[in-house]
Symmetry: C2
Amino acid sequence: MLVTVTLNTALDITYGVPRLLPHASHRVTEVSERPGGKGLNVARVLAALGHPVTVTGFAGGATGAVVRDRLATVGGLVDALVQVAEPTRRTVAVVDATTGDTTQLNEAGPQIRPAEWAAFQGLYQELLASASAVALCGSLPPGVPVGAYAVLVRAARSAGVPVLLDTSGEPLRRGVAARPDLIKPNADELAELTGSHDPTRATRDARGRGARTVVASLGTRGMLAVTPEGRWRAVPPARVDGNPTGAGDSAVAGLLSGLVEGLSWPERLVRAVALSTATVLAPAAGEFDADAYRELLGRVAVTRESGASGAARTATP
Amino acid sequence: MLVTVTLNTALDITYGVPRLLPHASHRVTEVSERPGGKGLNVARVLAALGHPVTVTGFAGGATGAVVRDRLATVGGLVDALVQVAEPTRRTVAVVDATTGDTTQLNEAGPQIRPAEWAAFQGLYQELLASASAVALCGSLPPGVPVGAYAVLVRAARSAGVPVLLDTSGEPLRRGVAARPDLIKPNADELAELTGSHDPTRATRDARGRGARTVVASLGTRGMLAVTPEGRWRAVPPARVDGNPTGAGDSAVAGLLSGLVEGLSWPERLVRAVALSTATVLAPAAGEFDADAYRELLGRVAVTRESGASGAARTATP
């Protein structure tokens, strides 16, 4: 069983408006809502790939109830969220139909009480006993200690469960020091962690800080994997236009499923890039286009890079 | 028992952000939420004034449940909302801490099914049997016929219950034709109804269309009442700065409570203007400052206007 952890789950609301003008009043012409938070997105993609997955983290209030109701309709997904007193946060994405731009409003999340955090840790320990791999995803809600991911990484390693960490800022910095098996920063997160905007230098630095493997998602430049077994770069066949929301979460699902299936690094990267690209192509934010995914699997190019010199040869996945 | 009707109740959410920038991502630094929709606002003010009040209209889904939970904490307020299948709408007010501006995003509301509209009409008829007055407030949700307020006005008149209508656009136009006892348009609503931006001409026109009494709220120029007993204008003692959200609803509560208490028109207007002004002064949107209200009661100036000529004398309320 795969496990994803989403400490700061969300009810993601998307509003369509004809044109967003500050200080004006807007009639919202389209409303959609879905469970959000990176770990829930990862879990939904894993379930769609046929991997049974358990989600844990926190949910509370009327918004948390909506999130749980929606998760109950996802086949292959088990809800092991811990009920908390304060409500799950909302995020509101306002899509301007004139410009296509999205304006994002993110609530901070519920204040987690010490007893709630303790209850989560107990449950997490239980889930680790039967987990094939665990992904720790997203921001921390108020009240959860900034070193939370370091604690959870160490617990997974003690239990012998491969652990992927996908977060940012200080929680990432602290979590990396606990030696996770894999981190998947984007270019900004990697630069924030290491102080370097050069991917070669930054991924090396991130491994020096404790990450066994670093898979950096570099947008249109694809993904760069720096692993104990070597370095690979995977790029989509062409630049695609669409909504990048959730593309990184789909990549995490690709990496995690590839790990438990025992795929090679090139194969994992092909899957991650194909899923990520198929997510950008899907009309609904955070969903992936299954047909595009299958078609892209044969068209993602993977290149083996030899060290920091930049010399490369193409690998067949 | 007073009754307020809110066919399109709302969960009003207010977000504080440091600065609203289209196309950017924002961390919401303050979140508050409360039951909304004009009739619920009116009811809360009535309850605060010591008038028992029954609220009806529609509520549904997780948002409707939050609205009803909050209403249950208001003393003197009875919840007679009709449960519907689709969720109560949200409104999101984004307050920019840098400029002080508010950007409003309003969902349209749930699709009301014919059986739900029929159930409401049955309940409304029952409530009229013991109502001292009824206020019909706000927009119509999808699925409710545009002539709904005309139907509800006629039912109130048949039951001998004084009826106040506070809405806009086509629902106002149709509702006025059914001869409500009182309408309370603001300047824009009055101009939209009558085609005239001249308050004297527009209020006369609105009465010609069927409204027995027109009380126009003209912002800083106070309120103008055109009644079968004469014309009065009431103005606050000074221009006040603050949040005008809910000021019109407080005015309706003032007029409605004054009606059932048998106050004179000047007394009703003083109360309406004082409540409205005290609402602008309150820090929280839609609440009124009780101390300011009591103090303002002695300072609102009421002037009797004699016909369309503009000649006036001051009345002591």
